[in-house]
Symmetry: C2
Subunit: 238 residues, 2 copies
């Protein structure tokens, strides 16, 4: 049995490696390899075909999620555990899409206790999933139709968070301005932002309010936005 640990922080790698060798003796008795970015994660997975891969989210080259996608594409049997600082809904959404329906995966926050990490490792090794308690409600929301965003709404959200106008969004997404406004309208509704018509007490700029609330709920976050910004500006320097 083989395990792979990928994290750009040496401190965390050492901590995790020690933790696993000391507490997984009964179940596990193979080598533990280490990597420090997403590309290495993919390469080392191909090379050693580990049963279990620990991935940090925030890594140079390739994010943990994208690395997981690559790995699972070739080795769907691999157990993946995301080790993250964030409980952001974006990441849970993305992970959900990447993991095969019957695959085993884990999502644990770095604030987790040692026992929780060991527990998660054991669960995933035996084919179960383990999700950090703090993430539970986030997952619920991603599955609730009334509050979860459609891809269309999510796209629009990213755009306004980057500061684009309706017109710019329309051009970028090959839509009409009206279509963009329509997406935004349903987005505002799902976020529970009051309009100008109802209740003149609550005066909000819906656009900015939507960005604020989405940040708060972890639907988006700064590093995700920066990725999009880079992607869009390289994609259309017309």
């Amino acid at each position: 049995m083989t395990i792979l640990i990928v994290d750009d922080e040496e401190r965390d790698r050492i901590w995790l490696k020690n933790l696993l060798t000391q507490n997984l003796g009964a179940v596990h008795a193979g080598p533990i390899y280490e990597g420090h970015d997403g590309l290495e994660a993919v390469e080392l997975s191909q090379k050693y075909k580990p049963q279990l891969v620990f991935l940090d989210i925030k890594m140079p080259q390739l994010s943990g999620i994208k690395a997981a996608e690559q790995i699972l594409k070739q080795l769907p049997e691999t157990g993946v555990i995301i080790l993250s600082n964030f409980s952001d809904e974006v990441y849970v959404r993305q992970l959900w899409k990447v993991v095969p329906p019957n695959g085993a995966f884990g999502y644990v926050l770095k604030s987790a206790s040692d026992e929780q990490v060991v527990e998660a490792a054991k669960a995933v090794l035996s084919g179960d999933c383990w999700v950090h308690p703090g993430i539970a409600r986030v997952i619920q929301r991603t599955q609730n139709r009334a509050t979860s965003l459609t891809p269309a709404e999510y796209e629009a959200l990213i755009c306004i968070a980057l500061g684009m106008t309706d017109h710019a969004i329309a051009r970028k997404l090959y839509l009409t301005e009206k279509a963009v406004q329509s997406r935004l309208k349903s987005l505002y509704a799902k976020l529970g932002i009051p309009g100008r018509s109802e209740g003149h007490e609550t005066e909000f700029n819906q656009r900015c309010r939507a960005v604020y609330l989405s940040n708060r709920r972890g639907l988006i976050n700064q590093s995700e936005l920066d990725d999009w910004e880079a992607k869009l500006s390289e994609g259309a320097p017309t």
Copy 2:
């Protein structure tokens, strides 16, 4: 010589304590106390009067910055080292105001190497300051008149980031709508956001763009905004 370590993460406390006991032998030979939130930081400082205090920024009860403010108010001689995950400009700005002109302080990111942390500790103990390399440019910006924000502009920035309209901001800050727009205009200028007049290629919603860029530059961040949100909604349920 006495040292105090305050962090809500046990892992980080242990790591730091080991690091200091092993590498500070020549300089330091006293007890190391530990706390796990801001209030404890203040209490333990009063009790033990340490020469050096390590403070995490994100802590329950009282943030690291506010704890530092309390501590320095009573014991201005104390050397304070902020240990943060973030290089956000907000925090550097706040720390700058809190530390007395001749006080010794440090600001190190948690991604720092062990050597850097030891170096910072030694520097502060001998009365010098130590600032993480990654923060240097942020500090430069806080001192440059052309790019640093005035309190007025900062206030306006917080408000639009929370999603308030011009009208709502005017009421909250006891200003005219025109005055609010004036503040926003100079804010946009300092952030380098192109207006509608110049360059019709770049189509931005300045309001949202300002929020995005400010987040990116660490002028604001989510947890700071949440504090303001709470403060404003309790302060004016008129």
